[in-house]
Structures are given as structure tokens and as C-alpha cells.
């Protein structure tokens, strides 16, 4: 028996048609509404590299690559997702009263099709049960306070599945009961229903069919309005993911050659600096809002969130969507709501970010959280002149003395006294020392250790000396793009004048900024982190290094490991048996110094570095090895704060300690 008959004189397909019109009408209206909001955003030309994008789409969207990084929730979702892809065509069959099945049977494919559909429903069921178990029984901490929406939706999907099986089973029961072996689960249901009287079965089938249709229609109406929008939103998000290297910020304006326009030539009348209005975002930054599944993986890895600050990366993304919806009538009319984007994000949250990119790394659907915050910072610094006071000192110092602390620029090469280094001369490599390595006492030791190792290995290198200026990273991450551009242009001129092409640096921020961001300012160089060079020298035995004896753990710097993609070289350079912290490699937990935060105030009870220090402490290691001057400072401070007297040493220092003298 089947539900395809009339109900109180009205044919079933007329009822279905009416309901479909309502559901689909609402759905497409809502989707159209979202599309109109997203189209308010600025251009971002990602309509290129189609072959690569197609591959990525298949791998990441279809293949759920990043989703399954969380084993329990990830695979549960994958099962539901793949299951639905398999069972989706069933709606065509159910909606047409069996026409699809009839058509397929003419070409002998109906059996396979039925099996696939059943498999789909089964996979979805397993996925849902795992998900429900996780939500109701396991109750992981991150779901605390989650709304009832989650379990309700899961139960609704389960409803869709069960009603489908009942209808399927009902189809097998009639004058003659004929089990369809291509629908094994349907058969199971049929066997259970077999004993009942036919009138009851008929009613069950009818009710199930209409519940099925109502639920599906309900989903169509609900999808564009809740976090389920990700079902559609993830398609453009994954398809048009960012192809620039992670962590690269873009200049205010670029010309046809994709180079940054010089500050003097900027067209200020037509240039918005940063983001404060909804339409200041690019369309791709806006579509993030509707791709978000509220999975909270970004929240879980965010150092600002973990340290109790008001920043929650997931909230930022959802804020974009919520703001758009709440102010939609004004925005679509081209007017500005009184509340700005920055009001919604809140300045506290905007300044709390360390730009560690853990959120972006964790996101299964390629949402780009950090640029929303750095764009807001650009507005606050360059348009509104409303930013933390400490940054005023930072900017002034960078501008006047080309280093963040305001030390005399002429003392920059003092750390190299007595080392007999080439200064300002051409050489095979240029050792870009960086500001901390030049002026901070603790980090001067690292510069000396690095220089000594390079000399020992016979590497031909020189330093820029007084000509070196800060690479500009703190200015750029803090939103002062003018200052960054000025520093970048000066450095590029100096680097080019010395004929540099290969650069070594002991600071991951220099490594990132000069290596990946200077290209747009005319500076294309091969940049190596000192751990990469030292590792190579060690492997080639140009440096003979003993394995260290202490218990050592390595703290991966964000800008080297996760953002820079280099986690092997530091370990190779250190050698020996490292004790790994739980969060290491590309999952490393930020020291809290990036994003210019090392120059900003932090409340005593909200210290990122103390969290990481505790993690390092737990390893029982005697020494924490670092590869970045910010990490050096933050880890040392953090350990001291928690009362641990562990040593913090740079890779180069540990290597130097264990250097075997040349015979």
C-alpha cells in the first residue's frame, strides 16, 4: 500500500504541490535574501584556478577532509552527510508517486538505486545515533550551554529516516506481500509491520508519508535561517577558499601587476581603510557567516578565548551573519544602521586576537576569521584613530627609530660586537637579525649563538647593521598599514641595494613577513628560518652537534609551524629525544605575543602565556626550546609567573651548547 490516493476528495499530489510551493517558495526567497546580503560585499576575485578549486571542492566538501579531523563528531557528520547524498534522490520518487522507480526499472537500475538509497538512510541513521549519543550521554564540555536546537534537529532527521522506512515497508505490503530484497531495511520494517491489520498499516503509511514531507518542507524553510545554512553556504566557501599563503594580509590597494600601490599614490577618495560597515567586507568574508556550522572548533583552539578574553572567533563569524539579518532592511536599502560592525564585534574582542590562525586552521569549512579582525583594526587605527594607548608608543617608536622600543637606530648592530661579521657587504646569505635580536638583551644572545654557528659551519653571510629596520609585522597586525608600507618599502630598498636574494632570520615573524608579504612591495627573496638552515647544516654534518641530554620540549611558534608550515626543521636541528606537549606542531598553542599583543596590556587573570607555560610545565621537561623571540619572552615570563624555574632556550643556543669542537 502506498499513500498516493486522495484525502477527503483532494488528490495527494495537489496537497503536495501546495505544500511544496510554500516550502520551496520560502526557501528560495530566503536564499535569495541571503544572496542579496552577501552581494553587498566588495569584490574579491577568486574566479580562477578552476582545476585546483574543483579538486579542493571534491576533497574538502565532498570528502569532508577537515571535518573528520574530529574523530567522533567528524565521522558522525560525514556519515549523515554522505548518507544524505545517497538518499537524496528518494524525494523525487516519493514526490512523484513512484515515477522515478518506474523509470529506472525500465533500464534495470531500480534495484541498485533502491539499495543505494537504503544504504544512505542507514548511514544517516548511524551518524545520527552517534551524534545523539555524543550530545546527550557524553556531553563534551564545549557543548555546554548549546541550545536545544541541536538535538531537535537530529531527532527531526531521524524522523525523516524512520518515516521513509515505514513508507518503503508499506509499499511491500499489499494484497500480496512482496519483500524487495534491494531494500533490506525496508524489509526489516515490513516484517515487523506484517502482523498488523491492513487498515492500520495503511494509516501508518499515510501518516508517515506526510510527516516525511512536512519535515522535509520544514527543513527547506529552516535551512537558510539557522546554522543549517551551512548546507548551502559551505559550497561557495569551500569552492572559493583562500589560495594565498596562510596569514598573509593584503595591501590597501594593488595595481594591475598585483603590486601594492605606493602610499603617495593611494586614491583616498575611493578607498576605505579597513572594515566598519557591513559592505566594507568582501563577499567572501560575508559568505563565511552562512557557512559556519557553529561547531566551535575555532573557539576551542583560540588562545584569547581560552584565556578568558571577550574574543570568541565563532561568535565573530556568527556576528557577521546576525548583523546582516538584523539590519537587513537598512542594509539592502543602502542605508547605514546606527550600530557598526566594530560595535558588534566590540573593540575588546578585536584587540584580543594574537593572529595565531589556529581558528582558520581548525575550521572545516575554510572560514577566514582573522582577516575580519585585522580589517577592523585597520579602520580603528587608520580612520578612527581609536586604539589602545600602548600602540601609540609602538607606532611612534617604529616610525622614528625603526624598532618597537625606541632604542637609537644607530645601536642596532651593537650585539655583533667582537664577532667580526660582514656588515652591509654582499654575501651569499643575509642574516636579518630583527628588532628583538638586535636590542633585547636576552635575544641578543640568540643572535650571537646563531651567528657563531653559521660562522662555524663556514656559511658566507652578512648583516645589514644600521640599515636594517623592523620588518613591520607589529604595525601590520595592529592595523597600521601606512606604517607597515613605509617600513616594508625601506627594507626592500636596502635589501635590494645589498643585492640580497637569500635571507636567514631567527624570528618567525620576519620569516613570514619578508618571505611571503614583501613580494607585493618589490621584494622577492628566499627566506629561511634559522632552524631550517641549522637543520640542514647539521644533517650535512657541517655542524657536529651532540644530542642534548636534558629533558627538552619544543614550543612551535605559530608563525613558523602553523602559518609557516615548518615543524620538522626545528626538531631536526635540535636532535635528541624531545618530549612533546599535547598541543604541538600545527596544533601548537600560541604564546600570546603575536598580533602586536606583546605590546598591549593584559589582565592578570587572563594571561595566554601562563596557559602555555602550565602546559610546558606538565611535560616535566627541564628546558623549553623556542624558535622565536616573542615566544622567548612570553614563555620566560609565563613560567616565572607560575613559579616554575624551567629554562627557556632558543634552538641555536641549545645547538651551540652541544657543539662538538672541530678536531
Amino acid at each position: 500500500m502506498n499513500p498516493f490516493h486522495d484525502y477527503y476528495g483532494i488528490e495527494w499530489y495537489l496537497i503536495l504541490l501546495a505544500w511544496s510551493a510554500i516550502a520551496l517558495g520560502s526557501h528560495f526567497y530566503q536564499v535569495g535574501f541571503v544572496v542579496r546580503l552577501i552581494r553587498l560585499g566588495k569584490d574579491d576575485d577568486r574566479f580562477n584556478s578552476w582545476k585546483q578549486r574543483l579538486t579542493e571542492f571534491l576533497r574538502d566538501w565532498l570528502g569532508q577532509r577537515k571535518v573528520v579531523q574530529d574523530k567522533v563528531a567528524g565521522y558522525a557528520h560525514a556519515l549523515i552527510f554522505w548518507g544524505f547524498l545517497l538518499l537524496m534522490s528518494d524525494i523525487v520518487d516519493l514526490g512523484t508517486g513512484g515515477l522515478l522507480q518506474a523509470f529506472l526499472s525500465n533500464i534495470q537500475l531500480d534495484g541498485i538505486w533502491n539499495l543505494i538509497v537504503d544504504l544512505g538512510y542507514a548511514m544517516a541513521t548511524i551518524g545520527i545515533l552517534i551524534a545523539l549519543y555524543r550530545r546527550i550521554i557524553i556531553r563534551p564540555a564545549k557543548l555546554k550551554g548549546a541550545s536545544i536546537e541541536g538535538p531537535l534537529i537530529l531527532l527531526a532527521i531521524l524522523g525523516i529516516v524512520l518515516t521513509a522506512f515505514i513508507v518503503e515497508a508499506g509499499n511491500m505490503i499489499g494484497e500480496e506481500t512482496k519483500y524487495n530484497r534491494w531494500e533490506p531495511i525496508g524489509v526489516l520494517f515490513a516484517k515487523q509491520m506484517d502482523g498488523m491489520d491492513h487498515a492500520t498499516i495503511a494509516r501508518m503509511v499515510d501518516i508517515s508519508y506526510w510527516i516525511h514531507m512536512i519535515l522535509i518542507g520544514g527543513f527547506l524553510i529552516e535551512i537558510p535561517q539557522t546554522k543549517h545554512s551551512h548546507i548551502i553556504g559551505t559550497i561557495p566557501n569551500v569552492m572559493f577558499q583562500d589560495h594565498e599563503p596562510m596569514g598573509t594580509m593584503i595591501p590597501l590597494q594593488t595595481n594591475e601587476n598585483n603590486e601594492a600601490v605606493k602610499t603617495d599614490d593611494l586614491d583616498f577618495d575611493n578607498l576605505t581603510l579597513g572594515v566598519n560597515k557591513f559592505a566594507d567586507f568582501t563577499w567572501r568574508q560575508l559568505s563565511d557567516g552562512w557557512a559556519c556550522t557553529a561547531c566551535a572548533r575555532c573557539q576551542d583552539v583560540c588562545p584569547a578565548y581560552k584565556s578568558g578574553k571577550t574574543l570568541n572567533p565563532m561568535q565573530i563569524v556568527l556576528d557577521v551573519k546576525d548583523y546582516g539579518r538584523e539590519h537587513s532592511s537598512l542594509l539592502l536599502a543602502g542605508d547605514e544602521p546606527k550600530e557598526s560592525i566594530i560595535d558588534r564585534f566590540t573593540p575588546d574582542a578585536i584587540w584580543a586576537c594574537t593572529t595565531c590562525y589556529a581558528c582558520v586552521e581548525a575550521c572545516p569549512v575554510h572560514i577566514e576569521h582573522v582577516p575580519k579582525l585585522t580589517d577592523a583594526r585597520r579602520h580603528l587605527v587608520m580612520e578612527a584613530a581609536d586604539f589602545p594607548e600602548e600602540l601609540q608608543n609602538l607606532f611612534n617608536n617604529l616610525e622614528r627609530n625603526s624598532n618597537p622600543w625606541g632604542f637609537g637606530a644607530h645601536t642596532r648592530a651593537d650585539w655583533a660586537e667582537g664577532l667580526d661579521l660582514k656588515i652591509g657587504e654582499p654575501a651569499e646569505y643575509l642574516f636579518f637579525v630583527g628588532c628583538a635580536g638586535s636590542f633585547d638583551d636576552r635575544n641578543k644572545k640568540v643572535s650571537r649563538a646563531t651567528a657563531k654557528l653559521l660562522k662555524e659551519a663556514g656559511v658566507d653571510f652578512s648583516i645589514l647593521g644600521e640599515m636594517e629596520t623592523c620588518n613591520g609585522d607589529p604595525a601590520r597586525r595592529a592595523g597600521n598599514e601606512f606604517l607597515f608600507q613605509m617600513l616594508a618599502e625601506t627594507n626592500v630598498d636596502n635589501l635590494n641595494s645589498v643585492g640580497t636574494l637569500k635571507i636567514i632570520t631567527a624570528c618567525p615573524h620576519c620569516f613570514h613577513t619578508i618571505g611571503k608579504e614583501y613580494e607585493k612591495y618589490g621584494g622577492k627573496y628566499e627566506v629561511y628560518h634559522h632552524s631550517q638552515v641549522l637543520n640542514k647544516l647539521r644533517q650535512e654534518e657541517k655542524l657536529k652537534i651532540r644530542d642534548f641530554e636534558d629533558k627538552v620540549t619544543f614550543h612551535d611558534p605559530c608563525y613558523l609551524g602553523r602559518i609557516g608550515g615548518e615543524t620538522e626543521a626545528p626538531r631536526g636541528a635540535l636532535g635528541g629525544d624531545l618530549i612533546e606537549m599535547e598541543r604541538h606542531g600545527t596544533n601548537s598553542f600560541c604564546c600570546g605575543g603575536g598580533g602586536a599583543r606583546i605590546w598591549m596590556e593584559e589582565d592578570a587573570d587572563k594571561r595566554v602565556n601562563e596557559i602555555r607555560a602550565k602546559e610546558a610545565s606538565k611535560t616535566g621537561a627541564d628546558c623549553v626550546a623556542v624558535g622565536c623571540p616573542f615566544c622567548m619572552t612570553m614563555m620566560s615570563d609565563g613560567l616565572k609567573s607560575i613559579g616554575d624555574d624551567k629554562q627557556v632556550k632558543d634552538i641555536s643556543e641549545i645547538m651551540l651548547e652541544n657543539l662538538e669542537a672541530k678536531t
Binding site: L266, F268, E383, A385, F395, R400, N401, G408, L483
Partner: protein, 253 residues
């Protein structure tokens, strides 16, 4: 209200100081706006924002180095016009001669209020302000930590030993600003860039005679024997040594 603010460009405090043949080598100095003058600019703009009027900046400097970027920042705080006087033989150490030149330019502007920093961080003579006041024939109040405007009267808090002297004055008057008189705003970078559209009024001048005293010789203070750790048998001895150093060598006690 017509306000004139005088700005001095001074060498950056972190510049390397080298003395050759008894003269300070100035050719590698980087220059910046005298921090005390920034307070004057900010306060002047605040008054303009409160009661309307015009703020004109005047700076006297030599003709070799570029000071445009720094002056632009001051403009971007909210000034209307900038007059830059360029003099080939300019020296920051000639208060009398500089005061004469500046007051000539100020006289053209019919100012109600003239403001500048209490002293320059190059020579710390604190002389140019009061001298200009005399040449203009107006009273002056120096070392002001707080300045209020009500109607056409100003109330100034002048810093004195152990306290403040509160003085009321009508305009015209010259005020020299002490540290922390007000909080200097960081001008929007966009405004700084856009202020390039308002060109400065650049004028070249000849030298001006004055009665300034010439410095005959510069020298570095005796080396501090940098970073000496005071040894001793116990706390008593170490402390004795410290007090002796502080009294006799450093002369700070």
C-alpha cells in the same frame, strides 16, 4: 579665536651624539616635533573646537632636513595653516635671535593667544617663549599644566615648587605648555595623508642678529664608569658605597 602655535623641530633623543673638535656633529640627526609643543597644538585645537576660530602653526628651522611628515601630523590634529620659516644658519641654541624672527611673523597674524612648549628638549633653556612675549608686548605664563577658557578669559595653572599658581588673564597672552597639560590625540592616519592637500606656506629668511651667547666648546660629561657593581662585606658597606657615589659622583643626593 585666533590662535598661533609655535613648533620647534628638535633632534630625536635617541640620535647618536658625537663631538668632533668641540662641536656636536649634527648632520646625522633625525628631527621630530618638540614633545612640549605637541601639547600646545592639541590645546589650541581643543579651544578651536569649543568656540571656533583658527589655529596657525609656525615653525622655524634650517633649510636642509625634511620636516614635512612631522608637521603634517600636527596639522592633522586640526590646525588650519602652517607657516614654515627656513633659515640657512638656523640654530636651536639662539633663543634671542629665533624669538625675534618668530615674533615678526606672529605680529602679522593678529593673534589672541600664542602657545608653545615650555622648553625644547634640545637645549632646555625655556627662553624662547618668554622672549617672544616681550617682543610682542604681551604678558606670558609659562609652565602651564592646565588651561581653561571661559568667555574671553583664560585660567592657567602654572607649575611652581610644591604646588600650582592659578592665574587669570584676558587675551592677548602667550602661554608655554608643561608636560601632561592635555592628552595629545593621535591624528587619524587618513587625515595625515589627506593633509598633504593643504600645502605649507614656506618662506626663506636671511640670518638675524641677536644677543645670543655663543657656545665655545662642547664636551661629553665625564664617563660614568658605566655599570659598577658595588662590592662590600655586607649590606652596610655596600650601602655606604652607594650613598657616597650618589652624593659625590652623581650629585643627586
Amino acid at each position: 579665536m585666533n590662535i598661533v602655535v609655535l613648533i620647534k623641530m628638535v633632534p630625536d633623543t635617541e640620535s647618536r651624539l658625537e663631538i668632533i673638535d668641540g662641536k656636536v656633529k649634527e648632520d646625522r640627526f633625525k628631527y621630530m616635533v618638540n614633545p612640549y609643543d605637541e601639547f600646545a597644538v592639541e590645546q589650541a585645537v581643543q579651544f578651536k573646537e569649543a568656540i571656533g576660530g583658527k589655529v596657525t602653526l609656525i615653525s622655524l628651522f634650517s633649510d636642509n632636513a625634511s620636516i614635512d611628515t612631522d608637521l603634517r601630523k600636527m596639522m592633522a590634529i586640526g590646525a588650519d595653516e602652517t607657516i614654515v620659516l627656513r633659515q640657512q644658519e638656523y640654530s636651536g641654541n639662539k633663543p634671542s635671535s629665533n624669538a625675534r624672527i618668530l615674533s615678526e611673523t606672529v605680529k602679522e597674524l593678529d593673534a589672541d593667544l600664542i602657545m608653545c612648549g615650555v622648553q625644547g628638549i634640545d637645549y632646555y633653556q625655556a627662553a624662547t617663549g618668554p622672549m617672544i612675549a616681550h617682543f610682542l608686548g604681551v604678558p606670558h605664563i609659562s609652565g602651564v599644566t592646565n588651561l581653561k577658557l571661559s568667555g574671553d578669559k583664560l585660567t592657567a595653572s602654572r607649575q611652581i615648587e610644591g604646588g600650582l599658581q592659578i592665574i587669570e588673564t584676558p587675551t592677548p597672552v602667550l602661554i608655554t605648555c608643561q608636560k601632561d597639560m592635555t592628552k595629545v590625540r593621535f591624528p587619524a592616519l587618513k587625515d595625515i595623508m589627506m593633509s598633504k592637500r593643504k600645502p605649507f606656506d614656506n618662506r626663506t629668511l636671511g640670518s638675524e642678529a641677536g644677543n645670543d651667547v655663543q657656545t665655545t666648546e662642547c664636551s661629553l660629561p665625564p664617563a660614568r664608569g658605566g655599570g659598577v657593581i658595588l662590592e662590600g662585606e655586607g649590606p652596610e658597606e655596600k650601602v655606604d658605597k652607594l650613598i657616597e657615589k650618589l652624593r659625590m659622583e652623581a650629585k643627586v643626593l
